[in-house]
């Protein structure tokens, strides 16, 4: 493998999405390297979230290929795919999905614990919390922090395992302009700092100017 290929973290080739063998959307071919960002755009129901699930090894595509750091998750066993998702992919949900029962620190650590990642160490956790301004609320329970703090916890959890790819699903849909700008800055800078590729699924046009590339979903008739 060449050194330029080594920096490609996620590549999508002729990826078709659908259900029961019938495709309803296509993702134009694209590749994203470490530190780069891509916005996957399209109207509601165009298959953006389904595309993220195909990248994350959660829902299989109806055709085409996904390659993450040189391997296709859909050619792996279910167990290996779970491990790949846990260790090399960071996921950020629209509603964050923090575990209310756990503290901020425990929520971030959970990503490493679930993945059985050897990178799980206190120094890494402290560094990440510090980077995202969460050190002061580390022991606070997740349901007792502000919305902005919860956003940052979700980002920290996604970055905990030093992922190759960060996938964010509609992260700005409920935010005003100021918060949208702040979150995008946080995501893009964090991804760059951690040498991860960032893919943001969104229908929010405000995102487009912030990312390196825009990929528009194609709806199949």
């Amino acid at each position: 493998m060449s050194s330029s290929n080594d920096t490609i973290k996620l590549a999508s080739t002729n990826l078709l999405l659908g259900r029961d063998g019938r495709s309803f959307a296509r993702v134009p071919d694209f590749a994203v390297a470490a530190g780069q960002s891509v916005a996957l755009v399209g109207a509601s129901g165009s298959g953006k979230t389904t595309a993220l699930m195909a990248f994350a090894g959660i829902r299989p595509p109806t055709g085409g290929a996904v390659v993450i750091e040189g391997v296709d998750p859909w050619r792996m066993s279910s167990h290996a795919r779970d491990q790949l998702r846990g260790r090399r992919i960071g996921l950020i949900f629209q509603s964050f999905y923090l575990v209310d029962a756990l503290s901020v620190g425990a929520n971030v650590k959970l990503a490493a614990q679930c993945a059985g990642n050897p990178l799980h160490d206190p120094v890494r956790l402290a560094k990440l919390l510090d980077l995202l301004g969460l050190s002061g609320v580390r022991e606070r329970r997740a349901d007792r922090i502000s919305h902005g703090q919860a956003q940052r916890v979700a980002v920290a959890r996604a970055l905990m395992n030093k992922p190759a790819v960060v996938l964010a699903d509609e992260p700005t849909s409920a935010l005003d302009d100021g918060n949208t700008e702040a979150l995008l800055k946080l995501l893009i800078e964090s991804a760059k700092l951690e040498h991860a590729a960032l893919v943001v699924a969104t229908h929010d046009r405000r995102v487009l100017s912030a990312v390196d590339r825009v990929v528009e979903m194609e709806t199949l008739s």
Binding site: I58, R59, D82, Q83, R85, R87, L91, A101, A115
Partner: protein
């Protein structure tokens, strides 16, 4: 993934729901263990209650009544016998010790029993304080009576006529406490003992007074050695086959064996024991179903969180383990709380039985019961966690992302 930490954090987060599950489980455990233990311990408590009495000889009548009156002290006398005749009938080489008893008075509802010092040998009773009477109107208190009436050595009290509280007081005959017995677990704990001649004298005077008023002569006047019965202990178990049969030939006397009569009584009550057993089984089913339902509700509330763990890379086994661990923690907590509740219930029941019926309940929890309970609790926890675990493992990564 640290399954135990996560499961514990979930429990803490929804502590109200978890507490409800623990409470339902604990009530079920306590109900079952209490019923089973109490039913096991009751026959022993009854046997302990009649102490070393193997034989009761009284007037002709129902042997069961005789046992209930003179061995367990829970019913009224059916008549009187001559002490000489009853002691004579009970005097056999197969009988170790015999003592006459005379009933008829009480102090605050506690029976006063006129007897001879031989009774202490029959009940294997020892003195905590003082000694046996040497004069008329001296009394020895059972341990329960001394505790309940707060009587001390040297205290004086007056008996009342009849076996229930509220009778006419024999004010001119005050007793003095000269001895207090150690607890025996038998009926001796809840009676006041004195010389049989004291009881006879008081009743003879009482009967004479009434005879003077009514012109009718009562038994105590006509029968100088009147006794309610004679209680005796055997030298050998073989005596149980021979002695009562020989005595029962006498047209004026009845011989009764407490163990035989109580066994007969229990056989009449067998349908009741089946009902209690059925109730116990029903309680087990209710507790298991209630525990499982509460656990399922708790676990269902975790489905989203468990699905999140799958998205974060946790394998199906880890997810199932979180569900089972959480259910297991609730089951263990329910067992511990149920055990504590059982202990408290049995302690209260023991105290009530001792105070009200003189039965010393010594509950011993059968190790088999403990094993069945632990096994049952694990099975219920497993069953309750199974469905949410399967749901969390199978589903919802897509749902989580699309919700």
């Amino acid at each position: 993934m640290n399954v135990i930490t996560l499961a514990f954090a979930y429990l803490r987060r929804r502590w109200g729901q978890a507490l409800l599950s623990v409470l339902v489980g604990a009530l079920g455990v306590a109900a079952v263990v209490t019923v089973l233990t109490a039913f096991d311990a009751l026959p022993d408590a009854a046997e302990r209650s009649w102490g070393g009495v193997d034989l009761v000889v009284g007037p002709k009548g129902s042997p069961l009544d005789l046992v209930l009156c003179c061995a367990l002290h829970v019913s009224d006398p059916q008549g009187l016998v001559s002490e000489k005749a009853a002691m004579g009938a009970a005097s056999s080489p197969l009988v170790r010790t015999a003592a006459p008893i005379a009933l008829g008075d009480n102090v605050n509802g506690w029976r006063i029993v006129g007897t001879t010092p031989a009774i202490f040998a029959i009940y294997h009773a020892d003195f905590a304080q003082g000694d046996v009477w040497t004069k008329p109107l001296q009394a020895v208190l059972g341990a329960g009576v001394a505790r309940a009436l707060q009587f001390k050595m040297g205290d004086h009290f007056v008996g009342a006529h009849g076996l229930a509280a509220g009778g006419e007081l024999h004010s001119q005959f005050p007793y003095k406490v000269v001895g207090i017995l150690k607890p025996t677990g038998s009926v001796l704990d809840r009676v006041v003992l004195c010389d049989i001649e004291t009881v006879r004298y008081i009743h003879r005077k009482h009967a004479e007074d009434e005879a003077n008023e009514t012109g009718v002569a009562y038994t105590y006047v006509n029968l100088p050695d009147a006794a309610t019965a004679v209680v005796a202990s055997y030298r050998t178990p073989v005596a149980a086959l021979l002695v009562p049969r020989l005595i029962n030939v006498n047209p004026a006397l009845t011989a009764a064996s407490p163990s035989f009569e109580i066994a007969r009584l229990m056989s009449y009550m067998r349908p009741l024991s089946y009902a209690a057993l059925a109730l116990g089984v029903l309680l087990v089913i209710i507790a298991a179903a209630g525990g499982a339902a509460a656990l399922m509700a708790t676990m269902n509330a975790r489905t989203r969180d468990l699905a999140l763990l799958r998205v974060l890379g946790a394998g199906p086994v880890s997810i199932a383990l979180v569900a089972f661990c959480e259910a297991g923690m609730i089951a263990v907590a329910a067992l511990i709380a149920g055990g504590a509740l059982t202990w408290a219930l049995l302690a209260i029941a023991s105290r009530l039985l001792l105070d009200r019926a003189g039965l010393l309940l010594v509950p011993q929890i059968d190790p088999d019961t403990v094993i069945y309970l632990i096994g049952g609790a694990i099975a219920v926890a497993f069953a309750a966690a199974l469905v949410p675990a399967i749901r969390a493992v199978r589903t919802s990564m897509e749902e989580l992302l699309q919700s």
